[in-house]
């Protein structure tokens, strides 16, 4: 927290809090999109950035969360926000089941397997698996979320729901990072053999982090379903996983502030480049390349000190 001074953070939070007062609905909606991707990227960061497990199929977990909420809401009329924990749970369980036989695979092999899982999930959704997902149409007419008797409808209202959840996530994830669990993930990333050789159950942590990251992506899926009121397979294509992957690496794997900034760039830039019309993705691709070449460690690489403030005191000994 030394590097990003409290003042900068306060300024950032304040501008987000007051943004809906100054921005039009389109701009707020862009911010909402960024918020959603920040959430997803933070959840992927646990797996990819903190634990170093190559995952390019994160959209699968996001999709499962979104579809769980959509199905529960449209079939059983469960209020959409109530489905949040359940979406997380189901996405997390799904991740545990699929990751169990494959987590031992090395880097690039794991990468293709996660791509495969992402594609299998998408194909299953398209083919209306178990008659639940509505095929390529997806599921529509999801009801608007209600919070304390207030129906959330406008982008301005979603803004607070989404960014509130982002804030909560960052709060919890920083604490997680500064704990035994968070450190275990880093040991895993740095050297798996040494981690196992120092008493860390590497298989357990690999699975646990897949489960946790997936559960969080699943909850982001609930927010997505609530915001769009329609979920369809297009929204969970391989491309989404690629975008999330780019956000995490561009931000600097393991760096929460870096990821927030990268989400602004990766989701915000294509909107900004709307002026370029047909060339907007061309410019976007070029910018991605240049940014990576200029900052190979990511925009704001994670520092190695990730201890809670109570431990910092020890340095005075």
């Amino acid at each position: 927290m030394k590097r990003f001074k409290p003042f900068t953070i306060a300024l950032f939070v304040a501008s987000l809090v007051f943004a809906p007062l100054f921005l039009n609905t389109y701009q707020v909606d862009v911010l909402n999109s960024i918020g959603l991707y920040t959430l997803l990227a933070l959840s992927l960061n646990l797996i990819l950035g903190e634990a170093g497990l190559f995952n390019m199929g994160h959209a699968a977990f996001y999709a499962i969360g979104a579809y769980t909420s959509a199905i529960l809401n449209t079939r059983y009329q469960i209020p959409i926000l109530w489905t949040l924990p359940l979406s997380g749970l189901i996405a997390g369980l799904f991740a545990l089941v699929v990751a169990r036989p494959v987590v031992h695979l090395r880097g690039d092999y794991l990468l293709i397997v996660t791509i495969g899982v992402g594609e299998i999930v998408r194909i299953a959704l398209v083919n209306d698996v178990f008659g639940l997902t509505g095929g390529a149409n997806g599921i529509f007419s999801i009801s608007r979320p209600k919070l304390l008797g207030f129906t959330i409808r406008q982008p301005q209202e979603f803004h607070y729901l989404i960014w509130g959840f982002v804030a909560l996530t960052i709060f919890l994830f920083i604490r997680l990072k500064q704990s035994r669990f968070g450190r275990a993930l880093n040991y895993l990333r740095e050297d798996e053999v040494a981690a196992e050789g120092i008493g860390i159950d590497t298989n357990y942590y690999k699975l646990a982090v897949f489960g946790l990251g997936a559960a969080w992506a699943g909850m982001a899926g609930t927010l997505f379903a609530a915001k769009m009121t329609i979920v369809s397979p297009e929204s969970f294509s391989f491309w989404e996983s690629v975008m999330l992957f780019m956000i995490v690496i561009l931000g600097g794997a393991g760096s929460i502030t870096g990821i927030v900034v990268a989400a602004f760039l990766v989701i915000g830039l294509p909107e900004l480049f709307r002026e370029f019309a047909g060339a907007r993705m061309l410019v976007f691709g070029l910018v991605m390349m240049v940014m990576m070449v200029v900052r190979p460690q990511g925009l704001l690489p994670a520092r190695s000190q990730q201890l809670s403030p109570t431990l910092l005191k020890e340095s005075n000994r």
Binding site: E119, I123, L282, M291, V293, P296, G298
Partner: protein, 301 residues
């Protein structure tokens, strides 16, 4: 049975193309441990360049079919190879000492760039190769319909793979490539110019990918700026299936993936075809974690 064999040949024809593209992934990976996500787009450039050269230079009219084709193939190979080398220079070389995943993101950015550049140059519509460039004879062997060109495509891809294999195994530069793939540092100490090896790999892989693009264009007739994603992903899957970094592995993986897809479509479900292929891939990796022909490296502790 007849249908089975027909499907098998269908699979092999598609698999041959996958294998050619997979070679590019596997060679780059072998030396740089980098997944070149832009490789699929180089394949697309091969298809588009072939189209442009064919229509603007009218090679087959001027030089006759055989000579024209040979010149066309060489030109496409050369141009795509140069493009590959430029890509290496611009997007990967600056990141050689960086974390591996940074180069992956750079590759993804390059892929987006290349794809959209093509869209802006040629437009978003499907581009169509001129009709009747290739002979359209269909062989009828024991009731199997085998278009002549399909047979030739499979033969051509197998031939190119053999040439590449011999090149890698027998020539000096091939040996250097193999050495660099095993240990770059040691290869450098042995006096091998690793930069040259990498350049070579980025010339060879794209050249093969370019030919694959040209063959797809010539045979299937239509090309589209997004086709590289589909083929690229399939070829990458094939390379992993065979054991990435391993050249015969890419060939086996490519052909096998084509066959799995064809048989999966024929006997299980067409709609689930890609999911079936991925399931088979995952099962194979569970049993053999480094692919079919990948070396099983024990942990050096």
């Amino acid at each position: 049975m007849e249908e089975f064999i027909q499907q098998l040949t269908n699979g092999l024809a598609v698999g041959g193309i996958y294998a050619l593209i997979a070679l590019g992934y596997t060679m780059v990976y072998g030396v740089l441990k980098l997944i070149n996500f832009a490789h699929g787009d180089l394949f697309t450039y091969g298809a588009y360049l072939g189209l442009t050269l064919l229509t603007s230079l009218a090679l087959t009219d001027r030089l006759g079919f055989t000579l024209g084709m040979v010149v066309l193939v060489l030109m496409v190979m050369g141009l795509v190879a140069v493009l590959g080398a430029i890509l290496e220079r611009a997007a990967y070389r600056p990141l050689r000492e960086s974390p591996r995943l940074s180069a992956v993101v750079s590759a993804l950015g390059a892929s987006i760039f290349l794809q959209n550049a093509l869209m802006l140059i040629y437009g978003a519509r499907f581009q169509v190769y001129p009709d009747n460039i290739l002979p359209t004879a269909t062989l009828n062997i024991f009731g199997l319909y085998l278009p002549l060109m399909r047979v030739l495509i499979v033969l051509a891809s197998v031939l190119m793979m053999i040439v590449l294999y011999v090149f890698i195994q027998k020539t000096r530069i091939g040996t250097a490539i193999r050495a660099a793939a095993i240990d770059q540092g040691a290869a450098r100490l042995m006096g091998i110019d690793v930069n040259r090896v990498i350049l070579m790999v980025f010339l060879l892989g794209p050249a093969l990918g370019g030919i694959a693009g040209l063959m797809v264009g010539l045979y299937y007739g239509q090309v589209n700026f997004t086709m590289g994603w589909v083929y690229g992903m399939k070829a990458f899957t094939a390379a992993i299936l065979g054991g990435i970094g391993n050249i015969p592995g890419a060939m086996v993986g490519g052909l096998l993936l084509g066959v799995i897809e064809a048989l999966g479509a024929a006997y299980l479900s067409i709609a689930w075809k890609d999911a079936i292929a991925f399931c088979v891939l995952i099962l194979i990796l569970i049993i053999r974690p480094t692919g079919l022909l990948g070396e099983r490296v024990a942990d050096k502790i």
